[in-house]
């Protein structure tokens, strides 16, 4: 057994160093008992020697040669390893023995208990408290914001706030304490009471009320019977519906649906005849359904089911059919709803009948619905009208409904063509007209307007045909199926269109010429009065037109002062001529003298005035500021002056606004600022205004009673705050403004009040 143990220990030693202690313990105790420790030690040494042969640095194991302090009772020492004892190591050991559960628990408890953190410092705590309190209070206060705002914007505030409701006693109360005194009153009351007239609420007497409430027996019976019948009918109908719903035959449902659809269309037709507006609404419904269908992917074979069917479709005829059905349904639903056209086509009626059937408005609106494009819209309406006009005079069954019968995809390009066509047509007609106007004499064969119109129309038709073909050929090109004749046909079309296009600039030219003509006329007309006034005829050739406005400008500026004062004014014809004594003596002589004097004086006066004005203007002009720096860019020093070029560049006077009397030669208006008035004017803009003109607008209306009626004056000068004398003004309460009171709001009301007062005092 010993040997076994030793062998074991040896193995353990060779494998693990940590676990050495334990096996060492056992043999030692045994050795003591046995007494042959000598051999054992030798063996140990041998083992050590063997193990040291590895070359590995083996740890020196504690050896108990004598009593020492280091040795614990468990024979564990920490000396050799030089490491600290870790709790985990202990636990490792403890785990095995269940007897140490309490210790383990304690240890766990110790481990789980957290360290209590240090308390925050006082400032921090207070700050946090403040933050929280602020948040709460501002939340409470924010509910007062609208009231504060309202009070700020209010034209007038009346205090005390709590309005005492005038105690409105109901009239019954007032009457109960009151009795008729005078005979008249008594009589009246007697009469009233006799008839049981309601004294207070003059509506209905009790009798009348009762009579109203009552109803005859027959009537009631009839009413009841009617109700019964209606109820029975309803139940029958419900039962029928339930029954029909349960039928599983698909064919049946299909038939029913078709029948319904037919019925609906028939009804629609009827409606169109009877009530077009309702019909329009119905149509709109259809249109909506169509739109929804177009939007959704419901029947487009893109769903899960459809995909699975698509896989199967190659082999399964039914699946293919199902898919086809789906597509057909989609097509059917997305097809534009055509009013009665299908049926009519089947019957083979002419489209004129159709035109009659469908009111004009219906078609138009329907088209409006399909395209929100305004161009399309205009096109459609005018198109239909055009068609009508075409048909009327020429009795030609033009296929006017092509846009109806054609499918969706083709509509767009057609519409574009129509626009183009119309454009062409308009231009053409314009050109025609201008041509007509211009060369009246070459046009010896005066075409009547009607014929020209027809001509235009025929041309238009030809053009449209061409364009259509063009379009078709383009399409074919796209599908790469272009045949030779097609291509050949295509070629002439643009060539023929080209002259039309080429003709355009010509027309523009002519128009321009016309405009110019008009302008010239304007000019001439404008010029005429002026020369007459000034007595100088100036012929204007069209060559110098560009500089014409300039000249005019100059003229406008120069109102001739001389003319202004010396123009001959018509003399007044007066009935009573003043009698003067000297008049008889030497009238002629005096007249001449006067005339000469006046003439000379006039010249003098004008010259003096102009001189004076010039001087004043010069004086009021801002002085030039010399900004030249001598020595910059050139030599400077004594006796050297900055060059004239430089002086011209840097000698600047700030440009003022143009003078008010700039264009008034006979007037001199002082530009000096009246500082006395300025002292009374507003110099600082009040708060919400950013521009002086805004503020000026608010102070335009005078407030005084001189300019306003009494009422208006009172309204304009109402005091901002009105208080009732002798009343205590209490702070605003939540109840006053319709809030529910709370302890917090009471807290807030003082602050709010102060805030409000603050604002009102502003």
């Amino acid at each position: 057994m010993n040997v076994n143990q030793v062998a074991e220990s040896l193995l353990a030693l060779s494998q693990q160093e940590e676990l050495v202690d334990l096996p060492k313990n056992c043999p030692l105790s045994e050795n003591e008992d046995d007494g042959d420790s000598d051999g054992e030690r030798k063996h140990q040494k041998l083992l050590e020697a063997i193990s040291s042969l590895d070359g590995k640095n083996r740890r020196k194991l504690a050896e108990r040669s004598e009593a020492s302090l280091k040795v614990s009772e468990f024979n564990v020492s920490s000396e050799g390893s030089g490491e600290k004892l870790v709790l985990a190591d202990l636990l490792e050991l403890v785990k095995t023995s269940s007897s140490l559960a309490t210790v383990k628990k304690q240890l766990n408890r110790v481990k789980s208990r957290k360290v209590v953190e240090l308390p925050l410092n006082k400032e921090k705590i207070e700050q946090i408290h403040r933050e929280v309190a602020f948040g709460k209070t501002s939340g409470v206060l924010s509910k007062w914001d609208p009231i504060v705002l309202k009070n700020q914007q209010a034209e007038q505030l009346a205090f005390p706030l709590g309005k005492e409701q005038p105690a409105i006693a109901p009239i019954e109360h007032a009457l109960s304490g009151w009795k008729a005194r005078t005979p008249l009153e008594q009589e009246i009351f007697n009469l009233l009471h006799k008839n049981k007239r309601p004294v207070t609420d003059p509506l209905l007497t009790p009798m009348e009320k009762a009579s109203l409430r009552a109803m005859s027996l027959e009537e009631a019976k009839m009413h009841r019977a009617e109700l019964q019948r209606a109820r029975a009918l309803q139940s029958y109908y419900e039962a029928k519906a339930r029954r029909e719903k349960k039928i599983k035959s698909k064919k049946y449902h299909k038939v029913v649906k078709k029948g319904k659809a037919r019925k609906a269309s028939k009804e629609l037709e009827q409606l169109q005849k009877v009530n077009p507006t309702v019909a329009l609404e119905e149509l709109e419904k259809f249109e909506n359904a169509r739109m929804m269908e177009r939007m959704s992917l419901k029947h487009q074979n893109s769903g899960k089911w459809a995909k699975s069917k698509a896989i199967m479709a190659k082999y399964d005829l039914e699946a293919r059919q199902a898919m086809q059905e789906q597509l057909a349904k989609n097509k059917e639903l997305t097809q534009k709803f055509q009013v009665a056209s299908e049926i009519e086509e089947e019957k083979g009626c002419t489209e004129e009948v159709e035109e009659l059937l469908v009111p004009h408005v219906v078609n138009e609106v329907q088209m409006n619905v399909d395209g929100l494009n305004p161009w399309m819209l205009r096109n459609c309406t005018s198109d239909t009208r055009e068609a009508a006009t075409q048909e009327d005079p020429e009795q030609l069954p033009e296929p006017a409904t092509h846009e109806v019968s054609e499918s969706e995809g083709e509509e767009r390009p057609v519409a574009e063509e129509e626009i183009l066509l119309r454009d062409f047509e308009e231009r053409r007609s314009l050109r025609k007209r201008s041509e007509l106007n211009q060369d009246a004499e070459p046009a010896g064969i005066q075409e009547t307007k009607d014929s020209s119109c027809q001509d235009v129309l025929s041309e238009l038709r030809a053009l449209s045909q061409k364009l259509k073909e063009n379009h078709q050929s383009r399409k074919q090109k796209a599908s790469s199926e272009g045949t030779v004749p097609r291509v050949q046909r295509e070629e002439p079309a643009p060539e023929e269109a080209a002259p039309l296009l080429l003709q355009r600039p010509e027309r523009v030219q002519t128009l321009e010429e016309l405009e110019e003509l008009g302008k010239e006329d304007c000019f001439q007309n404008k010029e005429i009065p002026r020369p007459v006034l000034e007595g100088q005829q100036s012929e204007r050739t069209p060559n110098n037109r560009p500089d014409a406005p300039k000249e005019k400008k100059e003229k406008e500026q120069l109102i001739d002062l001389q003319n202004l004062l010396t123009t001959q004014s018509p003399s007044v014809r007066s009935l009573a001529v003043p009698t003067t004594i000297e008049e008889l003596e030497d009238e002629e002589e005096r007249d001449q003298r006067q005339m000469i004097k006046e003439a000379f004086a006039g010249d003098d006066v004008i010259r003096n005035f102009l001189k004076e004005k010039r001087e004043a203007v010069e004086a009021s002009k801002p002085k030039d500021v010399d900004l030249t720096l001598p020595g910059w860019g050139e030599w400077g020093g004594v006796g050297l002056k900055p060059s004239t070029k430089k002086r011209r560049r840097f000698l600047k006077a700030p440009e003022g606004p143009p003078r008010k009397d700039k264009n008034l030669p006979n007037v001199f208006i002082s530009e000096k600022r009246n500082i006395h008035v300025a002292a009374h004017q507003v110099q600082v803009l009040p708060y919400p205004f950013t521009h002086h003109r805004q503020f000026e607008r608010t102070i335009q209306t005078p407030v005084g009673s001189t300019w306003n009626t009494q009422r208006a004056f009172q309204k304009l000068t109402t005091p901002k705050v009105v208080t009732k004398p002798g009343h205590i003004i209490k702070p605003i309460k939540a109840e006053d403004v319709g809030y529910q009171s709370s302890s917090r709001s009471d807290l807030s009301c003082h602050t709010v009040e102060s805030k409000m007062n603050h604002h009102t005092s502003q």
Binding site: K597, E598, N666, T701, K715
Partner: protein, 614 residues
């Protein structure tokens, strides 16, 4: 007879008593019980009535609406009761045939509107906008109220119409006096005062009193309607001019040497020696200023409420003997011998404006009551009417045979000119239109050359002072028919006058506020505003109102690199720049269009045949 018996207890026994004591008398209501009951019965009959009435009301409303539209779609206030017609129904069941407030003609409202809405404002914040809206609403409301109160101006101006083709100028005073009622006829009179030479005269502001002073010292004041003489004195000195001060109790007389002030008893109150050799007097009633023009060339403003000389301005144009005031803005117009008219205010040392009117010297100046037109006559025998609204250009010119020595405007815009011993009156189309000088409205020959002219306020009377005395002639349509009883009441008592005096003194306008535009106070002093702004910027070191430059927001995922930030900034800058360019382009285009439109509108339309011109 009974002291408020407590209702309920006392009455029944009394009633019993009455019944027992006497036989019940037949009361008036006993016969009428049946009809009253029928009439008062509520319910169906009433409803029926209503139903019958309703279409009628609607019809009325419809008509009303139509009439409004015909005037203009702008309706100042929607009638209130269209919203809930039920509540407006009266107890009797009768309905207002003209519901809602009466419509106000838009033109009349426009007259009272003072905010020029055609001027565009710069973009404003919401708060500012609300203020502006409030101001505009206030203005509209007040102007509507004012327009409504126009109804109270019941009097209509007089007029004179000749029979078909008849010239009104041929109608002489005697004919007019014959045609009018006796009170009006009494307003035409002549005072033959040949002794004391040519007279100057002046009516008081209420038009009730007349003061006149003769060249040879005769001064008198009278209530000219009742012909009651207030005072008559001889100042023993040449009288150049005479004028009432703010009320009829005080008279200013420009005598040979100094200016004297008398009361209505003829007692001399003041002798103002600082105003010497005064030739003309003008009184500015709202400023309490007496403006005097003197031979020495000084224009002196005397504040009569405090007795101080406000300003003495040297006109530097020699002798001043032509003066008139602009009643609209209290600017004094002086006529000079060099043909100019200068405009003066006490706040400025130099004229506000100078207008060259005549080749010769200016003989007379007058300004109409709206301050729009100025009439001048000069030595060149011309009579001109100038537009005073900024352009100062003559609107019409006429040569008179001997030139007009005196001019005056009436309250309703009639112009009178005194030429020698003849007085010519011209009339315009209405109140605010210039008098057309084509044909005189009235002419009158006096017994001597005219020396003073004035229309009497609130009366169709023209007072003419001449060498033969005073003539008061009737000029139909001259005076304003409606007077403001609080402002200038011709029928006021002494007490009322005293109260008015106190109020007027309280509302005295400072003299320095006189300027060409009387609405200058409703404007902001832009220059000092700008300067204040500049100073503030200098003080602060930055512009607090400047728009903050765009600062791009930081973005994540590496898109906030410096380059991208710069790019974004650049983008915003470019956008702003583009906006500016766009705006300037638009403005240019608009200007061009404006010019084109103007050119087109001024030129005559091309004739239809012009299109054939090659």
């Amino acid at each position: 007879m009974e002291t408020a018996p407590k209702p309920g207890r006392d009455v029944p026994p009394k009633k019993d008593k009455l019944q027992t004591k006497r036989k019940k008398p037949r009361r008036y209501w006993e016969e009428e019980t049946v009809p009253t009951r029928d009439g008062a019965s509520p319910g169906p009959p009433c409803n029926k009535k209503n139903r019958e009435l309703r279409p009628q009301r609607r019809k009325n409303a419809h008509i009303l609406k139509k009439s409004r539209i015909s005037k203009k779609p702008q309706v100042p206030k929607k009638p209130r009761e269209w919203k809930n017609p039920e509540s407006q129904r009266s107890l009797s069941g009768a309905q207002d045939p003209f519901p809602g407030p009466a419509p106000v003609p838009v033109e009349v409202v426009q007259k009272f509107c003072r905010i020029d809405k055609s001027r565009k404002l710069p973009r404003s914040k919401a708060k500012t906008r609300s203020r502006l809206e409030v101001a505009e609403a206030e203005e509209e409301e007040t102007s509507i109220k004012a327009a409504r109160s126009e109804l109270l101006l019941a009097e209509e101006p007089g007029f004179l119409e000749g029979e078909d083709g008849e010239d009104t100028a041929k109608i002489c005073q005697a004919d007019i006096v014959e045609a009018v009622d006796i009170t009006s006829a009494a307003k035409h009179f002549d005072l033959n005062l040949r002794q004391f030479g040519p007279y100057r005269l002046n009516y008081s502001r209420t038009g009730r009193h007349l003061a006149f002073g003769g060249r040879r010292g005769h001064v008198a004041a009278l209530d000219w309607v009742t012909k009651k003489l207030m005072c008559e004195i001889n100042v023993m000195e040449a009288v150049r001019d005479i004028r009432f001060l703010h009320s009829e109790a005080l008279l200013a007389v420009a005598q040979n040497r100094w200016l004297h002030i008398y009361d209505n008893q003829g007692i001399e109150l003041h002798c103002i020696r600082r105003c010497d050799r005064v030739t003309r007097l003008e009184f500015l009633p709202f400023h309490f200023l007496l403006a005097t023009a003197s031979e020495t060339g000084f224009l002196t403003y005397l504040d009569v409420s405090v007795g101080k000389i406000v300003a003495a301005l040297n006109a530097r144009a020699g002798r001043l003997d032509v003066m008139s005031q602009n009643p609209y803005n209290a600017v004094i117009h002086l006529g000079h011998s060099n043909g100019t008219v200068s405009l003066w205010s006490p706040a400025m040392k130099e004229p506000l404006a100078k207008i060259l009117c005549h080749r010769g010297g200016v003989r007379a100046v007058a300004v109409d009551s709206t301050g729009t037109y100025m009439a001048t006559s000069g030595l060149d025998h011309q009579l001109k009417i100038f537009d005073l609204r900024g352009t100062y250009q003559p609107l019409s010119t006429r040569t008179l045979p001997h030139g007009a020595g005196h001019l005056a405007f009436s309250q309703r815009g009639l112009l009178v000119a005194g030429m020698g011993d003849v007085v010519n009156i011209w009339a315009g189309q209405g109140k605010a239109s210039p008098p057309s000088l084509e044909q005189p409205y009235l002419t009158h020959r006096l017994s001597g050359p005219v020396h003073g002219l004035q229309f009497c306020p609130f009366e169709d009377v023209l007072g003419v002072g001449h060498s033969g005395g005073i003539t008061s002639m009737l000029v139909p349509g001259a005076g304003e028919p409606n007077f403001d009883g609080l402002e200038s009441n011709p029928y006021r008592s002494r007490k009322q006058r005293q109260e008015w005096e106190v109020k007027a003194l309280l509302e005295k306008v400072p003299a320095e506020l006189i300027c060409l535009d009387p609405r200058a106070l409703a404007k902001v002093d832009v220059i000092s505003l700008e300067q204040g702004k500049k100073e503030r910027i200098e003080r602060l070191g930055y512009d607090p109102e400047a728009k903050a430059p765009f600062q791009p927001k930081p973005k994540q995922k590496g898109r906030s690199s410096t380059a991208s930030l710069v790019k974004r900034k650049r983008k915003v800058m470019d956008e702003e720049h583009r906006d500016k360019v766009r705006q300037s382009l638009q403005q240019q285009q608009q200007q061009q269009q404006h010019k084109e439109v103007k050119a087109k509108s001024t030129g005559a339309r091309p004739s239809a045949l012009d299109r054939f011109v090659r």
